[in-house]
Amino acid sequence: MTTVISPRREQPAEEASRRTVRRPRRRQTRRAWLGIAYASPTAVMVALFFLVPLVLVGWMSLHKWPLLAPPTFNAPDNFADIGDNELVRSATWFTVKYTVVITVLLFAVSLGLALLVQHRRPGVGFFRTAFFLPMAVGFASASLLFLGLLSDEIGPISDLLRAVGLVDGYVSWTSGSANSALGSAVVLVLWRFAGFNMLILLTGLQAIPPEIYEAARVDGASRWQTFRRITLPLLRPTIALVLTLMVTGSLLAFDQFWILTRGGPDNSTTSLVMVIYREAFIRLDLGSAAGISVVLLGVLIVFNVIQLGVLRRRSS
């Protein structure tokens, strides 16, 4: 689909009437140059701040690259060290666990919300806005909000649960135990992102022609049958997209754990990106951080390419 100016394609016309064609052709060349001029800021930004860093992160991963001293070549030490790093191993395991939990729960909640508000009914606009509104709060701010909300000092949650007798004494949700710390982050992410994913699923739901539902109703299909046989299959491309976004986002989790749980207790909620940060700016070893980045990048690209392939095959 490349639309490169090719003089050869215009040749028949040119032979037919050389005089009249020459001017539009020159105009076309002029327009091509204009287009290049207009696209040049984009090209410079993309090359300098995307392509160069992409190559650079690979280059850095082959070096011992201290924050404050000149780099020296040491490949493949950075990659070999990844396997020996106890924290990397526990962070990988934790990040995968978190990704599975979030993807399953967030998808279920988002789809439920989307199904709830898919038809025009009284109050539907208000519901949609209410579900989507957390998205207007920055994620770091949302993490701080939940830090207070879940705290025993000023948060109402612990008081509420004590009042109904579910817990007693001092409770620390965000740092008390590994499970409650993970649970806190999961609740935060569900609150913040369910509305966003609901919105994407909603556009997919609304793209299903109403006639198909009408036909199913005439044929006497039950609600569950309609959902299983019509909604889910036709929603598949949108579902694939939402799942990709969720998995990618979860594998790169940082803000929620950095702010809410500080990676604790005992590094039990330390994610991979937190390890990258720690290698680079606390242990001051940029090469090692780049090595982990490259591996994570490779996994994500492979994952995205597979997803894209699935997405394309199913939508065609």
Partner: protein
């Protein structure tokens, strides 16, 4: 039928309360003091040792202004080029721009940190803004290309007949026609740059360069011992109010741009 209607209303209302509750609670907690209600928490937010200083707010405004301005500039010219011109390498450049979405930025920020150092832009608001502009480009270029493609060709051609130069056509004829796209792109760039945390955390080192988000988070992470939760909630409200106001005014174009960008990007 009637029963499902009631079920829908009750479920919807309960969930809406659940989603709105944290927002309302943070507003309430930020004005609650030991003895009643007042602005003491905000006072501590701006005066305590690790607190937010006026220059942090100014830094945030500068970064947001640079990011919004830069994104609009690059994305308008780029969107015009992709939507209306044919030139060698056009499709390749467009694909590479969209590929920024495929490469999650946490993985290249270490390299960007080194690169900005080479360019003499380490620990500067301009360097941070350039990085934020780059991360905005896939969505913005996509949005602006679609906007320019939707403008009728006759409009542009008649302007050129009248002897309008190309830049003149763009500024006087095309820009008013793509205003909704510009609003979405600008709003999106503001919301992201105003609340971004990870990029400033990596790219800014000195506390006097901190953005407001960094400064507020710093109140939590730099505190040894007890955390001043009430002042934190004041910080959350301070950060969220501009976003919520903008969102309320422009919800329609925001949501529309959001979905179209998310679906096809």
């Amino acid at each position: 039928m009637n029963r499902s209607r009631i079920g829908y209303s009750v479920t919807g209302a309960a969930l809406a309360i659940l989603f709105l509750f944290p927002l309302l609670w943070s507003g309430w907690a930020s004005v609650r003091t030991g003895s009643g209600f007042g602005l003491e928490n905000y006072d501590r937010l701006f005066t305590s040792d690790n607190g937010v200083r006026p220059h942090h707010v100014i830094n945030s405004l500068v970064v947001s202004a640079l990011t919004v301005g830069g994104t609009l500039f690059v994305a308008t010219l780029g969107g015009y080029a992709f939507g209306r011109f044919r030139f060698p390498g056009r499709d390749l450049l467009f694909l590479v721009t969209l590929a920024i979405l495929m490469v999650p930025y946490a993985t290249i920020l270490i390299a960007l940190y080194v690169l900005l150092g080479w360019l003499g832009l380490e620990d500067t608001l301009i360097g941070l803004s350039l990085v934020l502009i780059m991360f905005q480009l896939p969505f913005s270029i996509f949005m602006m290309r679609n906007s320019f493609e939707a403008v009728p060709r006759e409009l542009e051609e008649s302007a050129q007949m009248d002897g309008c130069a190309s830049v003149g056509t763009l500024v006087r004829i095309m820009l008013p026609a793509v205003k909704p796209g510009l609003i979405t792109v600008g709003l999106f760039a503001f919301l992201t740059s105003w609340s971004e945390f990870f990029a400033p955390l990596i790219l800014l080192n000195s506390t006097d360069k901190f953005t407001t988000t960094l400064a507020v988070v710093n109140m939590r992470t730099a505190s040894h011992g007890s955390i001043d939760y009430a002042a934190l909630e004041a910080g959350v409200v301070f950060m969220a109010v501009p976003c919520l106001i903008l969102f309320a005014f422009m919800q329609r174009s925001y949501v529309r741009g959001f979905t179209s960008g998310a679906i096809k990007g």
